[in-house]
Symmetry: C2
Subunit: 349 residues, 2 copies
DNA sequence: GACGTCATTGCATACGGATGCAAGACAGGG
DNA sequence: CCCTGTCTTGCATCCGTATGCAATGACGTC
């Protein structure tokens, strides 16, 4: 553990410090600090002189030292666990970009089911991140979450954890699932099925309950409800085949797009069914793949940009800092009808 | 910019420090520091006593302060730009996991084509990351790279930049592309086409040159070479249709799997061709989608785990620190034959 | 019993920048 | 010309941990 990982060759010269810069310029270190602090009390021409000279000698303020004295890191910890579903990488990418835009860096915490969470999350505390954004609450208990985020801004995206007193930003799963049910009804389907991913996640529970309820309200028959066990293509495939085996369904709502993709392929290529003629398929999320012509997946689009905007906004304005009342933002999504459920009767070109 | 982002409510009590802990325990702050430093000179029972008490009062060493005094952050900057291709999120996830396993955190730098790179990358220097792993060299010049990584360990994954004096770990694109060419030859194809993503990237150049060269060696005809302009499904789709328009090809090698997926769907569903009977398709990477039954994509599998292992190893043993001779590791991949190019003549079940 | 060795421990200071406070500079008003 | 208020600037200290060095004590040896 104590290898000479950093070779102390001649090449190991430290970067220039504010003090050195100050001495060279005949000013105080405070002046240098102020030159790089927006809004600090310093004469404009002095600031310019310092900044210009800094450029010449390639001085960059040391962020670590700044963190220490300001007790502010400008780092947001992003806790993720399930990167199989393309929805999350896409979300994370946009999120980190938005954070960067307001001067925040993203420190990735990739938690694994197997290993000990405490140890992984203790880094969250030691690194003194300003805020924590949890994108995967799948395997985190409210207690763990409370501990990990204690004393700092925290915020869940796309998950709700009841006993954790955390604010969250989430797509309106209920409206989405009801919209799918309504859509199935409108296109004449009456015998529907639901495929869940991980049945205990809040997203799944919300989607499932809302869908099942609406299906009943509309007088449709729920002829199958399959728990795929995970959010993957393969799981969707198996679930679809199981539903076909049981027979009778004329529409399937998959808890997310990646499941739906697997299901769709299985229905067409393994079960030999026509989609949407024999059976309609819908997913949730509207990931990139959903718009590919091959899938043309009817789905409920999560308002990713809005989710991110709201989340970043909450971090920026401090409304998710401890002590503030927690808020749960449910953002509306949009039903996207494609030919996996309903083929427009237009020219087939 | 100076909003009271961190509310200084009563809730804002600072966490306990090593000094406080020390005072409570009647020992010196050094002792506390040593208790948490593996290999430090301290009596085992004192260490235990301190650690136990620390647990009781919920003391966690402040990593920021530690970074400052050790000039070591245990943070690796990961520079990425193109997250459209699922290959990269998958890579990043595994990479960050591996880094975490040896106590390194991943700070994400998501660079965007449009905005000014200098500003984005200056964070790399200010944050004093111990090492930089660049997964996207697409839009970075050697000069920029040299500047951004100056004085710290740096390493390119899946890219080579000639004028940057950086070590890199990369899949053997040449062997891979030759293997694809050989495979096309073996299955009887003689009129092949190549589809590039971004033509100026080194991966593309390597793959293209190797493929074209091998095609010539084998006496096959290269009847089309299309630059798709980006690595996307849609680009692959367009490229495939263009090749069909020109006519004559009986096999297409796409520079990566996501292009191939788009191409494959277009060939089957828009051009009405049989794959692989009329035209064989191959990609590169072996992303998850390639193994989906619908695509069953013949591809050259990048040895992702090995790439990561080697990269992490180089960071761990310091062999990519400045001053060390740069090394270029080319790791062998594996040709994966699936039915997009060659259908096993087995029972169709 | 004296001395060398080694393991522990504390002291003091370094790491690089931020900031409260006071001093100096300067302008305007009386 | 003095007084007061505003703007700049430097000084000193702080942020929390790491670590070289010296001091202390324990132990073994001859």
């Amino acid at each position: 553990m104590d290898k000479p990982e950093i070779p102390d060759d001649k090449a190991k010269r430290r970067p220039i410090t504010a003090r050195q810069l100050a001495r060279m310029l005949g000013v105080s270190q405070s002046a240098v600090s102020r030159a790089f602090t927006p809004g600090a009390s310093i004469a404009p021409d002095l600031r310019d002189r310092i900044k210009q000279f800094a450029e010449e000698v390639d001085y960059h303020p040391n962020a670590i030292a700044s963190m220490l004295s300001k007790s502010r890191t400008n780092i947001v910890g992003i806790v993720v666990s399930d990167m199989q579903n393309p929805f999350y990488p896409a979300l994370i990418e946009k999120l980190s970009r938005s954070l960067q835009r307001i001067g925040l860096q993203s420190l990735l915490f990739n938690i694994t089911k197997g290993s000990n969470l405490e140890e992984q999350l203790s880094a969250l505390r030691r690194y003194n991140v300003d805020a924590v954004i949890i994108i995967s609450a799948t395997i985190l208990s409210g207690q763990t979450l409370r501990w990990a985020t204690e004393g700092r801004a925290a915020l869940l995206i796309n998950r709700v954890v009841e006993d954790a007193d955390l604010s969250c930003v989430i797509c309106d799963n209920v409206a989405g699932s009801r919209a799918i049910a309504d859509h199935f009804y409108e296109i004449g389907r009456r015998r529907v099925a639901y495929v869940s991913g991980l049945s205990h996640t809040t997203t799944n529970r919300e989607r499932q309950n809302a869908f099942v309820t609406r299906v009943a309200e509309l007088g449709m028959v729920l002829c199958a409800r399959v728990d795929a066990g995970e959010y993957s293509y393969e799981a969707g495939r198996r679930a679809a085949l199981e539903i076909v085996d049981r027979g009778g369904a004329d529409a399937i709502f998959f808890a997310n797009d990646i499941l739906a993709a697997g299901g769709l392929d299985a229905l067409r290529e393994e079960a030999g069914l026509q989609v949407p003629e024999d059976i309609a398929v819908a997913g949730f999320d509207d990931i990139a793949l959903a718009s590919w012509p091959h899938y043309a997946l009817t789905t409920f689009r999560q308002p990713v940009d809005e989710i991110i905007a709201v989340a970043v906004g909450m971090i920026e304005d401090g409304s998710c800092y401890p002590g503030r009342p927690i808020t749960i933002k449910r953002l509306p999504g949009e039903l996207i009808v494609r030919s996996s459920s309903y083929r427009m009767s237009d020219s087939s070109k």
